[in-house]
Symmetry: C2
Subunit: 325 residues, 2 copies
């Protein structure tokens, strides 16, 4: 299975990520051929595979059954893909990873069931490969927080008085939680102590928050072609992220007329908004926050037992601040 | 918590069903107040609670922790409610149980996450109350079959050459599987043998198929007010059920012009279609099938150990053939 070229710099990890994708592919056994193909296309569509990568890296502090860890990493990527498919319905996204989304190609109906189906595949993989009810409990608790994060975000759509604390709370609940879960599962299921797994979880939270901040920054600094999806779709659908929130702290009035257009905002007005955000140092401040969370994660990683697992984790986490897409 | 009046005839069961609803209510802790209220309204909206009832009845062959069994029954009702919320998106249903659906009241977006949230609550309850990974594996396997049933059904929409075997396969995968799971979980988690649990599962499958046949029959014989939802919505959205399929076996040509209208079929044409189905004995034949599956289930139940659990199971299963809504 083809994986993102970035993983060639991590030669132990690359074949395991590829095996995880192959395993997911094997699980997709619906007779509904168009849906199966759409799901597979999405899974093989060049996603970054960061969550399974962190799961696998955190499992390398122990000498453990690799097949099991690959299956759990696959479960995590499946969960992530399920949430993306449903997010695309909510955001009415036409493209993701430079591909037409399932909701656009087959309609929201199919996308609802395709996402549900992947949730169940994730659940099935966890049930078959997790070592205890304890870790399934942890998974379900994290998944609950992720969904509550989504629902909270939905409740604050188009609220121009959203604060950076609200944003951080939502981001912790969503992206942060899934990265935290990935790191926890990798550590815990490979046989590390609960204490070590809790440390991994905490580090994962910082990595996830930094990752989401960068994602939200790229929405203001990249082109749609580079991102593989339209830029600033979030603003149009009323989801205001760190760069905009931080810029508005400098001059709220400058933004209100544009935001009042809600989903009717034109492309030209959106360009204007992006410029304003940069002018008011929204991107700069958000980047400082991303750096702070990355530094905190790396400080945590440096305290872990020395070895190639720790080295790869530090290198990967540092490189995420540099990404362009 | 208020439950359907039918349960007053089952005095041991009624308070446990009520406790299951209370437990679900406690799990709904999202800050998104409109969504929380919509979910609670749906859960307290007078659903029949048949699936948790079968779970609880099958657990009564053993002297077991009632709190645990109530929680597992709650998990099953939560899963059922999640699938209903997502089904309503697909079918664009305006009402269910005489209430406005979540998708109609808050839009499909909210309904996607509300359903996802309930899937996770179900998962969480299972993870905390199931006694082993084995039963979680069974649950995830059943859930997978249910989703595959949905996807299969979707792939055969508007196909006028659908056979009764196709229908039965879909119904086994969907309703059949969830009833089978309810019975299995009740038996297995209460400490009955795997053999007994497998028997319960098989009986549950027949009960579920009979239940779905009756549901589909009522679509042709009831008024929308009695059903709490519009009649024959399934036909409009291209899902052809037993009465129609069996009637078409008698005279295919009579139906094709009406079905060719697809979602544009008028209310008057729908009335005509319902009459034709009854004239061609579609309802009569479907009822005979429902009776056959019920008889098979009751024959299985009669072989179980004598006692009040068996008596209640037989009485409940027989009564379902008589229902009017």
């Amino acid at each position: 299975m083809k994986i993102h070229p970035m993983w060639h710099e991590y030669p132990t990890l690359a074949p395991e990520l590829s095996s995880a994708l192959t395993l997911i592919e094997k699980q997709i056994t619906t007779n509904n051929t168009p849906v199966a193909e759409a799901i597979l296309e999405m899974i093989n569509g060049g996603g970054k595979l960061l969550r399974p990568a962190y799961c696998l890296l955190f499992s390398r502090f122990q000498d453990t059954d690799r097949e099991k860890m690959i299956a759990l990493a696959a479960a995590i990527e499946t969960l992530h893909t399920a949430t993306l498919i449903h997010d695309d319905i909510i955001d009415k996204s036409p493209t993701r990873r430079n591909q037409v989304t399932i909701q656009k190609q087959f309609g929201p109906d199919t996308a609802v069931y395709a996402g549900d189906y992947l949730f169940v595949v994730c659940f099935k993989l966890l049930a078959h490969y997790a070592s205890s009810l304890r870790s399934i409990q942890q998974d379900s608790g994290s998944m609950e927080k992720i969904l509550k994060g989504e629902l909270d975000q939905m409740a604050t759509r188009y609220q121009t008085d959203i604060t950076i604390d609200d944003y951080l709370k939502q981001v912790s609940g969503k992206t942060g939680q899934l990265f935290a879960l990935s790191c926890f599962v990798g550590a815990y299921e490979s046989g590390s102590s609960t204490n070590f797994a809790k440390t991994a979880e905490k580090i994962g939270m910082d990595i996830g928050i930094a990752f989401q901040l960068l994602d939200d920054i790229l929405d203001y600094t990249s082109s749609g072609d580079t991102l593989g999806k339209p830029v600033c779709e979030d603003v149009r659908s009323g989801v205001y992220s760190a760069p905009l929130i931080l810029a508005m702290q400098r001059d709220r009035q400058a933004f209100l007329p544009l935001l009042a257009k809600k989903e009717q905002i034109t492309d030209a007005e959106m360009d204007k908004l992006r410029e304003l955000v940069i002018q008011h140092e929204g991107v700069k401040q958000a980047y400082a926050m991303a750096r702070q969370h990355t530094d905190q994660a790396i400080a945590g990683l440096k305290k872990l037992p020395a070895g190639s697992a720790r080295d790869d984790l530090i290198r990967l986490t540092g490189s995420l601040l540099m990404r362009k897409a």
